[in-house]
């Protein structure tokens, strides 16, 4: 481990870390929004459920590098544009989350649903005040998986010139130099663990009823 290299490159490493966080988090937020909207539609209109499931699982199957490369052809962006990575990861996040959103929204028990209806909830208000909070634990389970996976996948973007910490991997390979590689690996893992821990805390704070046992 070359500590001198690290200390003389902290600025660059910090910049790449910042890029990495940005490239991972933006797709999570965007993917969640997409998943909530699509998921709510899939639950409200059961006919949409099978195509949503089929489409999301197909997107989920495509290797990330392939999706990064296909993006410019689909949306006419430049090949080296970071937006390709962001949109591709948004598609992944949304594909993963939409299943959890739909399962979560359908987790409301028939008794609770009948109660809400009978007390005079309007459909939108019921979705917002009853179904969505009850779906939270499943949505968060999906968010945790998607966030950790995104942080790992951003690195692959280095192969098309958009990589965050992944650029430390290509540097390490090209120069047969372990230090940047290890720094990248450690930072990436720490970032994933930190993000996961933050999500756990956020979930605890948002769903106090879920951690109770009688």
């Amino acid at each position: 481990m070359d500590w001198e290299w690290i200390s003389s490159n902290t600025g660059e490493i910090g910049g790449l870390l910042g890029d990495h966080i940005y490239l991972a988090i933006v797709p999570i937020v965007a993917g969640l929004v997409v998943a909530l909207v699509v998921g709510a539609l899939g639950v409200r209109f059961p006919r949409l459920y099978p195509p949503i499931v089929a489409l999301s699982s197909t997107f989920y199957t495509i290797p990330s590098l392939a999706l990064f490369v296909i993006m410019p052809g689909l949306i006419s962006t430049q090949i080296l544009d970071p937006i390709n990575v962001i949109i591709a990861l948004t598609i992944y996040s949304a594909s993963l989350l939409v299943r959890n959103v739909m399962d979560g929204l359908r987790a409301t028990s028939p008794e609770v649903r009948q109660s809400a209806l009978s007390m005079g909830y309007t459909p939108i208000r019921q979705l917002w005040e009853i179904d969505l909070p009850i779906a939270m634990p499943l949505v968060f389970a999906g968010l945790r998986v998607a966030t950790v996976a995104n942080i790992s996948m951003v690195s692959v973007g280095a192969l098309i010139g958009v990589g965050g910490l992944g650029e430390l991997f290509t540097q390490g390979f090209q120069r047969r130099f372990y230090t940047p590689l290890l720094v990248g690996l450690v930072l990436s893992v720490l970032l994933a663990l930190l993000a996961d821990a933050l999500l756990v805390l956020l979930q605890r704070w948002l769903t106090p009823w879920a951690r109770l046992v009688r």
Binding site: S109, E111, V112, Q114, S115, A116, L117, S118, M119, G120, Y121, T122, R125, I130, P133, I134, M136, T207, P208, W209, A210, L212, V213, R214
Partner: protein, 365 residues
Amino acid sequence: MIEFESVTKRYDDGTVAVDGLSLVAANGEITVLVGPSGCGKTTSLRMINRTIDVTSGTISVDGQDIASTDAVTLRRNIGYVIQHAGLFPHRTIVDNIATVPHLLGWDKKRSKGVALELMERVGLSTALATRYPAQLSGGQQQRVGVARALAADPPMLLMDEPFSAVDPVVRESLQDEFLRLQQELGKTIVFVTHDIDEAIKLGDQVAVMQVGGTLAQFAPPAELLSKPANDFVAGFIGRDRGYRGLSFVGAEGLPVHERSTVAVGASEDDVRQATGDDDHVLVLDTERHPVGWLPVNGQADISPERLLALGTTFTPAQTLRAALDGALASPTGEAVCVDGDGRFVGVVSHGEIAEHLQTAGRQAG
């Protein structure tokens, strides 16, 4: 008042859930819909608050056809209690109860005050207010369900098997408290159950429904027991309906008569003289409260250890069922009748009760 007028519910696949139902649930009364599963009772209930739409016929609430009302407004004015309570798992108890006030836009303080008051009213400690449903027992959850339905003080309540998910002992106490509460509140209640005992216990009027969604009989419980309209109703009520029917006949007309008694502390001679040919003599205390039966058997030993338990007594204000219970529990087959202060009035044998029942039945029929 909730009125069904030839209401039919037919699903798209042709299944008829409710077929030409007509009945009136009177104000301030408990109207029970009872029947086996598949008889359309829950469907009927849900049509009242329009969570299921009527296919034909009309349902009116206080004279207004519900089809012409706004469904959401209608629902907010009719309380609803469901089996398993259907509480919102993500809301505290107090917030669950305050749901309808919240929907109606009451301010928070007022909703909370009402919710806490209702908790006490249904027998829940307000210490539970900040708990979540998962932290409560089934019986407690069911009480919360009732409190939630009452929160906006709706004049009407719909209850769908509210007590059937709890064990029999808890159910019994929930039913008793429900009746006590109804005495105070006087709501117009439509109550669905598959349990005929519950229907008879709670209902002012009972509608027995049969598979196919038709009404078999609509009558007060006593009439249901004494005069079932058809074999279905008779079968549904069950074998011991005669015995249950005794609960609805008053004991005041029973031919209560004198019998030999002795006072506590009487001498052997007194006993022998009082009993005559009888096997037992009834012992009264100085206030003429019955104490127990003394077996005589020719000898007149009156040591207290030989005294037999009295069993239960009854007053003329009670029912034939109480009298028969007393007679069956007594060593002589005689039920001891006392007045309101517990003083001895007379006795009646189970044979005499049966005879009386026959004459009473003939008169009623």
